[in-house]
Symmetry: C2
Subunit: 602 residues, 2 copies
């Protein structure tokens, strides 16, 4: 069964009716682009996703990369896919022409990437990780390092990874122990240490791989402020022969992941023979701060992946519900009547509409974050860039966590709709459910995102970030009013925004009084509360655009599309927004059950 991966109509809707793409394209940075060139890029990605990446998804899930004498071999399909991704321009789409890129707005690239990820998240991963690693060199590397590594990564000749985590440290990067010893007059360091969970840490797709690695320079201070960033290639260029020779980087083990099985996660040892050369990127001891400057993008990428993984499963379960006959409507119980497709059962539509609300609400949010990324880099005034950055910083943990957490629920609903068949590996929903679980874990767990949101982001600039969000929502409410979105929905959203403001104020006061524990106790509930509001905002944006579309006079297919948008908006406003009250009360309460619970009580 062909899977559309994403709704094309919805992608067009975002591009033409929701986002202010025109205003974005008017910025000097995007002078090379028109709406047509943007569309062409999305269409090329869509075609590649459907025709090349998706057919390889199941085979790659079933036969993960395997070690062959210390060298990891990827699935044969990947050898055909990777050059196509390079050819499409995936790695450099958003980068400036100066480094070989196409200067595409990030929000457009996001829509294109959504298809690639929905089709085959592992396949896309090889390209996406390379972009991320090369960007660190683009931003912080010397010309020499950029020349040596970045250009070859952006061209697709070599790939890249991020090597952060160590077995004993996990998320606690403070505890990184990999050591880099300066080599006098050589321009490089000797690195020794072990990393774990390195995605695409080895493969046979390209002849070299560059690991952007966190390590401590010998004698560096303890903690976060003693961690530096290094570029460590799998093979280094022999200065005499110019040939690539081993750089003493070794696969120590393949981790048996439950999803993302087309791309390996590895344990890697650097410097087993004390011959691993690493090149310092930027200044010593600033590695963590460099990583954090790339963090927004990485986290939004995870959010997009979560949306895409939920989307492909939503499309599959929608198709299944439309074609699988079973049972009869309530009150039409004649056993002689034919069975009806299960989409005719209200409870199945409940599950589908919930998936739609999560998938399309999540996609709108991620694309909005990408648009803010574009503005924060390329808007023409300092003021606009600052405002965009502030709001982007605030939305990032939400755009990462909401799709990851609710996407998992959405993926479980896709299994549920398939009934007993969903519980088998003959159908694909179970594999997407496995894939999805990673997204609440990597690039900062949901717990870490929640602490980031409440402990840093909403209180940033003395509340300026939250005010920027409130302004944006109020602007949307204005547009929605004019478009004829029901007043009751807007009142509800407005009320929730007010409630969030009050809760935040109270928690911020607790923090200022020094009771950080009490402030942060319900950070996970706070994340859930604010996520509901932010996604409601995105649904009201879409409802407004739908109303505008209906008012313009729409084809029958478009009317159906817009009515679907309004039904999903209604669902979110009626079912989720009322939870803001209870969640807010919980955040403000002294509820201390798990805060005071001792280890011995469990």
């Amino acid at each position: 069964m062909a899977n559309p991966l994403l709704s094309d109509r919805n992608v067009e809707f975002l591009l033409h009716e929701v986002l202010d793409t025109k205003a974005l394209l008017a910025l000097p940075a995007f002078a090379d682009h028109t709406i047509e060139t943007c569309e062409m890029y999305v269409q090329s990605a869509r075609k590649l996703a459907r025709e090349v990446l998706y057919p390889a998804y199941k085979p790659m899930d079933q036969a993960p990369p395997a070690l062959d004498g210390g060298q990891l071999r990827v699935h044969p399909a990947m050898h055909a896919i990777y050059p196509r991704l390079v050819e499409l321009g995936t790695i450099t789409a958003t980068r400036p022409p100066s480094v070989g890129g196409a200067s595409l707005p990030t929000c457009v690239a996001t829509l294109a990437n959504a298809y690639l990820m929905a089709a085959n998240l592992s396949a896309y991963g090889y390209a996406g990780l390379t972009t991320g690693a090369a960007r660190l060199l683009e931003s912080f590397g010397t010309d020499e390092l950029r020349e040596r590594f970045m250009t070859r990564m952006y061209s697709g000749e070599w790939t890249g990874t991020m090597a952060l985590t160590e077995p004993q440290a996990g998320s606690s990067l403070t505890d990184v122990k990999t050591v880099a010893k300066p080599v006098e007059n050589a321009g490089h360091y000797l690195v020794r240490g072990s990393k774990i969970f390195i995605s695409a840490g080895d493969h046979d797709l390209t002849e070299n791989i560059v690991h952007l690695t966190l390590a401590r320079i010998e004698g560096a201070p303890a903690g976060i402020k003693g961690v530096s960033l290094f570029a460590i290639p799998k093979k280094r260029i022999d200065p005499k022969t110019g040939a690539l020779v081993s750089n003493d980087v070794h696969v120590a083990g393949v981790i048996h992941k439950i999803g993302w099985r087309g791309i390996a996660s590895l344990a890697i040892n650097f410097g087993e023979q004390d011959d691993c050369h690493g090149w310092l990127v930027g200044e010593p001891h600033r590695g963590i701060s460099y990583m954090f400057q790339m963090m927004n993008e990485a986290r939004i990428m995870v959010g997009l992946n979560a949306v895409a993984t939920a989307a492909v499963a939503y499309q599959e379960s929608l198709e299944y519900a439309k074609t699988r006959p079973q049972g009869r409507p309530l009150g039409a119980k004649s056993p002689e009547s034919p069975q009806v497709p299960i989409i005719e059962h209200a409870d199945v539509r409940r599950m589908l509409l919930r998936q739609k609300a999560i998938v399309e609400g999540g996609l709108a949010l991620v694309v909005e974050a990408a648009r803010l990324q574009d503005l924060s880099e390329h808007a023409t005034s300092d003021d606009e860039r600052t405002r965009a950055r502030l709001l982007l910083d605030l939305l990032t943990p939400i755009a990462k966590t909401f799709p990851a957490e609710k996407g998992f629920e959405s993926n479980a609903l896709a299994v549920q709709i398939h009934g007993g068949y969903g519980y088998t590996s003959e159908y694909l929903p179970e594999s997407w459910l496995r894939d999805q679980k990673l997204n609440t874990l990597h690039e900062g767990t949901s717990g870490i995102q929640s602490m980031d949101l409440l402990g840093r982001k909403v209180i940033a600039g003395g509340g300026a970030a939250l005010r920027a969000l409130v302004d944006a929502i109020e602007k949307t409410i204005g547009r929605a009013k004019r478009a004829g979105v029901p007043d009751a929905w807007l009142t509800r959203l407005q009320g929730s925004v007010t409630a969030v403001g009050e809760v935040t104020m109270q928690l911020g006061e607790l923090g200022m009084k020094g009771d950080v524990d009490a402030m942060m106790r319900h950070s996970f509930d706070y994340m859930e509360m604010l996520s509901i509001v932010v996604v409601a905002w995105q649904w009201i944006v879409q409802a407004a655009a739908a109303k505008e579309g209906l008012a313009r006079g729409a084809s029958e297919a478009d009317r159906d599309f817009y009515e679907g948008k309004l039904a999903a908006a209604q669902y979110w406003v009626s079912t989720e927004l009322p939870r803001v009250g209870t969640l807010g009360a919980l955040c403000r309460s002294n509820e201390d059950s798990y805060a005071r619970a001792r280890a011995t009580w469990f």
Copy 2:
């Protein structure tokens, strides 16, 4: 790492401090038992679970049964386990001595089975399914059929299955198409048809398997009222030689399940050569009604399985959280200080306490349902039996659905606590997450349970069932008041009970006016609302028992245990009970987003 599977202290707590085991054992039906014999049985099951079943869990998950020339071969470990389960008395523990059983109260057997399921749900499945199938023969079979099949099943010589589902029908048993043709003067029928998802439908553990199968007698009326129940053995006894010969029952395919991998789910063909003998059980056309009389037990069994699967993962993640050092407490950020076990982070305790609330709340609920089962069969007065049955019927869909739905969330939290390691098959939480997903699907999906609850159970007897629940809760509130459980908690529970009554009344009125669609629209939300209240009731029962225990003067270990109970009760009352308001409002509202949504809108 040894896994305790369940907390022994908690099992003792339920047996001695929560349930009124003494009153139950005073019933004539349980005259053979004392609290000591009950404990001995639980201890034997616990020992078998830990020493024999659990070590085989991972090997069985990794190497599922496979076909070998039309015959399914189970994992070698299973050949050692099955006789031990038979020897323990698992199959007949609760059955009367007249059929070889031990007359153990079901609620005691439930606690024993919880260990077996937590250790290795597939291994237990061979025994549990045999009990279920044999019970149908015990209740509805003739003496001849009981002699021929039931005695051999209860003795463990043969196993049993339930063969309900057909590929074209799924949950819609109305659409069963398997046909049974009477053979004149032979006492049996010739059966022809295909079944799917038959758990333990084939294996090499015993020389025969009896399938309790739904089929239509030729010429039977269409629909539910034309479906009969048959006993169909894999091999039948040749009347001439007395030997077992093929009964034309064939494995048509092995379904590749994502969990419960130690027990196969099969597609089975009956009568490919028109030589499949089936024996009618009970009267013609009453098969569905017989199945439904066993349904409470089957569904509570699923609920127990869900609890057990969540429990074993909770214990694993608790152990991990106590031993895995990572990061430092908020406000103690010196990187020189040692890392702390992750249980020291409040957000990790949040996840653990939520798991505890779900697991121990769910177990208390399932055990209470089992106790009602005991009373509904063995209480000495008609009136007591009727009241127990009414409440049991009401609680059954909840005792099935709550552990299945929230157990899945709980199992996902166990993965989350393990971080990146939880995403690997080197650790077990991912396998329990896979196992758990089945429980929202089999024995009636969560959607079907929700319609059963609202459409039948709460309105049964003109509201008598709901009144029985309210009475039981009020009795608990009385006990809790006397024990010193905080008034605020009791007021909250009382308020929620009132709210549920109002919602139910309004929905019942809609139904009586004939607007069944509007009544049933939010049946899933109704299920969630009532589940929260019912589990809160079980937490208040436990809080009362904990307060009583503290008042008696407890050892330090017991004090910790009781404080943990109070913390979990506080968590549930503060975090979940407030949701009753929003869910109730939703049920009462005209929210019709998915009700009115058309297939073309998605």
